[in-house]
């Protein structure tokens, strides 16, 4: 549910923005159905508004969404025994929020296949539904912003971190990743900051864990 909350307003905003940029309603909805990546789609319509080259838009999308490669890798040990088409379907809906939910879930036991796929389908459904709402009723819905729906995603990340962090080392690695992402963003690594911070700090976690186990053995 919180995930659907989070996606709806962003989807509506995307729908409104896409029409303003000159996308047809069909193309706006199609982009949400096919690409399914909030950040990359918002960047893409901005680039389309600037009449950027399609190659530039696709390359930017690749960079913005590269973090999903790390998420997909992190999911892989939990997908053993799944059939290839189940993984293919599951991966399609592997968005940030869906991944964060899975990650909090598999901390406390094995992943339920049906539930995992349902989470991803819910994410996809509410994103597309939000886009449709934005395209059809955008001007009417602007008033809905009174409630801070735009904060749903940040609040959800906070909740998931609270569920995931169990050890002091995990806390430190998470803090380091957040700070590194900020530093990288300030240094101008706009869309790379998440990938850079994750790779560096997961390595930090691995190193620290090895060092601690070597010292205690």
């Amino acid at each position: 549910m919180p995930m659907a909350f989070g996606y709806l307003p962003v989807g509506i905003a995307f729908g409104i923005l896409a029409l303003e940029t000159g996308l047809s309603p069909l193309m706006a909805v199609l982009m949400s159905v096919m690409v399914l990546g909030a950040a990359s789609q918002l960047v893409a319509v901005q680039l389309i508004a600037l009449s950027a080259d399609p190659v530039v838009i696709v390359a930017t999308t690749f960079i913005v969404n590269l973090r999903h490669m790390l998420m997909s890798s992190a999911m892989s040990p939990h997908l053993r025994g799944w059939r290839w088409y189940e993984i293919a379907f599951f991966s399609y809906g592997l968005t940030d929020e869906a991944f964060a939910l899975h990650a909090a879930r598999f901390e406390s036991g094995p992943l339920d296949k049906g539930e995992a796929i349902a989470v991803n389908a819910t994410a996809h459904g509410s994103w597309v539904f939000g886009t449709v709402l934005g395209v059809i009723a955008g001007p009417v819905l602007v008033g809905i912003e009174v409630l801070a729906l735009d904060y749903a995603l940040s609040a959800m990340f906070i909740a998931l971190l609270a569920m995931m962090v169990r050890t002091r080392l995990q806390f430190l690695v998470g803090l380091a990743a957040g700070l590194t992402a900020c530093a990288a963003a300030l240094a101008g690594l706009d869309y790379w900051n998440i990938v850079v911070a994750t790779v560096l700090c997961a390595t930090l976690g691995l190193g620290a864990e090895k060092w601690i186990s070597r010292r205690s053995s």
């Binding site: 009449s51 999308t61 999911m75 892989s76 939910l101 909740a159 971190l161 590194t180 994750t198």
Partner: protein, 108 residues
């Protein structure tokens, strides 16, 4: 940009988004990874979520903003408290949204 060029752009975006989501899960789930890899991957979820969250809270328009006018940051305080105490997704998200709504409505 005309709509057929938009369509081709969407197809390209779909490929470069889907393949990074699919290939690691497909290829890595077939084999058992070395221990070091599994430890490394186990740190990815916390790192990636934190790397998405913290910039959203403390950065505004390309600079660190820890001031009281950064309401998103201060709304995180009760949100984190409720998150740590309840570990409930719903209660935490509700706290965050209500907290920020209140802060925005306060006359300051």
């Amino acid at each position: 940009m005309d709509q057929s060029a938009v369509f081709l752009t969407i197809v390209g975006m779909t490929l470069v988004t889907y393949l990074p989501r699919l290939l690691p899960a497909w290829l890595l789930s077939k084999r058992s990874l070395p221990d070091a890899w599994r430890v490394w991957l186990a740190y990815v979820p916390i790192s990636v979520v934190s790397a998405m969250l913290l910039p959203a809270l403390v950065l505004r328009e390309g600079a660190v903003d820890l001031g009281f006018s950064n309401l998103e940051l201060w709304a995180a305080v009760p949100t984190i408290l409720v998150g740590v105490l309840t570990r409930s997704l719903f209660a935490t998200v509700l706290t965050g949204m209500l907290g920020l709504t209140l802060l925005r409505e306060l006359p300051m």
